[in-house]
């Protein structure tokens, strides 16, 4: 009994240490965001400022920046459009690959597999040419079409999910005179709702957090996303750490909220994707 108690205490100590390591850098940033310029120098970075000195001016300054609003808008547009097409193409592609045999299927599956294996960052060197050729450079179309075309994790999740649906379902519907499109739209697609939730949540986080593609393809000020807004803000606020800290906290919030509310979907989806690979 004593052994079991001390065991539990040991475990708790290890876990609390882990929580501290995770939270400390974020908490210290939060502390800084509540300080005045003077308190940044006068108080230890490990402590909150004296209570009467706590200020929300830094947050006010970031929140009234017109580019932050633009960032929210652009990120929102990117999210909605990419997710819509990702779900549409992802479900139907997975459905066909899982349920149909046709000539050239091996090639199709092979192409998607190659697509998943190709490293993302360096491919931009030649993708840049394609985007420029299509006149998409410096438009929201560039990141949107790249997210739709090249981020393929949804195929795993959908294929895995479809393979658990009974084939007799398709057969019965087809015998009843259902067309293939109707079978997909009316029967299969609604059944995929849980997988769609997982796909949307994970992709939303990836898109909100993505720095590289917006940075590369949309240097225009009007096309700031949340993440590139932060990068620009950091360059502009050099030396004024307290305002940048407020910016950092604001940019972190959307994905943390998504995580807190939809944690179960996220963890399930992450594990499923890996196991399949």
């Amino acid at each position: 009994m004593v052994k079991r108690v001390s065991n539990q205490v040991m475990k708790q100590i290890i876990c609390i240490a882990m929580v501290l390591i995770v939270l400390a850098p974020i908490l210290l940033t939060l502390f800084a965001s509540l300080k005045t310029k003077a308190d940044m120098v006068l108080t230890s970075p490990l402590l909150l400022p004296p209570l009467k000195n706590i200020t929300f001016d830094n947050f006010a300054k970031v929140l009234t920046d017109k580019y932050l609003l633009l960032g929210f808008k652009n990120t929102g547009i990117m999210l909605v459009v990419s997710l819509f097409f990702n779900v549409m193409f992802g479900t139907i592609t997975a459905f066909i690959i899982e349920r149909f045999d046709f000539r050239g299927k091996k090639i199709v599956v092979g192409l998607f597999f190659i697509g998943m294996l190709i490293p993302t960052f360096v491919t931009e060197i030649s993708r840049f040419k394609v985007i420029q050729g299509l006149n998409l450079y410096n438009t929201l179309g560039a990141p949107i079409i790249i997210y739709i075309a090249s981020d393929l994790m949804q195929l795993y999740i959908y294929r895995q999910f479809i393979s658990t649906l009974p084939v007799s379902l398709d057969e019965a519907a087809l015998i009843d005179g259902c067309s293939y499109f109707k079978l997909f739209r009316k029967i299969i697609f609604p059944l995929l709702a849980p997988a769609t939730a997982t796909v949307c949540i994970i992709k939303a986080i990836n898109i909100i957090n993505d720095m590289y593609i917006p940075y590369l393809y949309m240097p225009k000020n009007k096309l700031r996303t949340l993440t590139t807004f932060l990068m620009n803000y950091a360059n502009a606020q050099q030396g004024s750490w307290q305002t940048l800290a407020a910016g950092i906290i604001i940019i972190m919030i959307p994905t943390i909220i998504i995580y807190v509310f939809f944690q179960r979907y996220i963890l399930a989806g992450i594990a499923a994707g890996a196991v399949k690979e």
């Binding site: 850098p25 210290l28 090249s150």
Partner: protein, 296 residues
């Protein structure tokens, strides 16, 4: 019947044509184009470029900054490799009888979903030489003699950046290991117990093989991740001082978009792609086969 099969073909064609065209235009074609560009001296804007044979490949192999960058990638790989036992330990801990386990699970994975650029700035401040939090922690612990320029000391900068990478990505691996451990059917263990298997047997013949597949995956993820480290050094040090904290991908991107040498950059991109595919095949054929054989 033939009408049905025609409709079937129609359905397949109409459904796949757009996703496939997108895939070919934005993924498959660029990948092949990289290969083609790697034999040219294209600068990124000129309408024409010259075929220069394998010159890029030779200058890539001779480029000492690139080799230095690749060595830095190795630091990330080794640091993450050393973390695997720790991650496994946490996975075992979090699925054991533990109060507040759910909360700890939430915490362990949180860094993975937080905005990477924001994290990079957070740690720039954390390790800053002026008023930095880390130096203050050392001070509190009376260890100020250890304090140094964490992000500009050539000797340690890569380890500091690797630490940030570990902070961000380890939770992902913990979750994967937990999933692997939890996927073992409970009745399998019970049946084994009934048949007289000891705890050691269960660990050796049931738990270890189940985790091995995941270890295998995490290992590949580490290699792929380490070869492609980009955003943390890009935001925190932009590869500096000099090329001391540059990475292969960072150097490749700089070669293209800063130095406008798309030909040479394509060569590096081809190299990284070949590396990843070769490692994938080696791992799939050799290690994977070995693990599965052991299981039987």
């Amino acid at each position: 019947m033939s009408k049905l099969s025609r409709k079937r073909k129609q359905f397949i064609f109409i459904s796949l044509v757009i996703p496939l065209l997108l895939l070919i235009a934005f993924v498959v074609f660029p990948a092949f184009d990289l290969f083609k560009m790697s034999f040219t001296n294209w600068d990124g804007y000129s309408p024409s470029s010259k075929f220069i044979g394998i010159d890029n490949y030779i200058s890539m192999l001779k480029n000492s900054d690139l080799w230095l960058s690749l060595k830095n990638n190795a630091v990330y790989f080794v640091v993450h490799l050393l973390m695997i036992p720790v991650e496994l330990g946490f996975a075992v801990l979090l699925i054991s009888k533990l109060r507040a386990a759910k909360f700890y699970k939430t915490m362990v994975f949180m860094p993975y979903i937080i905005n990477g650029v924001a994290i990079a700035y957070v740690f720039s401040y954390f390790f800053s030489p002026i008023n930095g939090a880390f130096d203050s922690i050392l001070q509190v612990l009376n260890l100020d003699s250890l304090s140094r320029n964490w992000l500009s000391d050539v000797k340690i900068v890569n380890y500091v950046l690797s630490f940030v990478s570990v902070w961000k990505y380890s939770g992902y691996h913990v979750i994967l290991f937990m999933a692997a451990l939890q996927s073992i059917p409970k009745d399998l263990e019970e049946a084994a117990k009934v048949d007289g298997a000891t705890t050691v047997h269960i660990f050796k013949f049931i738990q270890v093989p189940a985790i091995m597949l995941m270890v295998d995956f995490v290992l590949f993820d580490n290699i792929r991740g380490a070869l492609q480290v980009f955003d943390i050094p890009f935001v925190m040090t932009s590869g500096g001082p000099g090329y001391a904290s540059s990475t292969f991908t960072l150097y490749t991107i700089k070669t293209a978009f800063t130095f406008s040498n798309f030909g040479l950059a394509s060569t590096m991109a081809v190299a990284i792609m070949v590396l990843i595919i070769v490692i994938y095949i080696i791992q799939n054929k050799i290690i994977h086969g070995f693990v599965l054989k052991n299981r039987r």
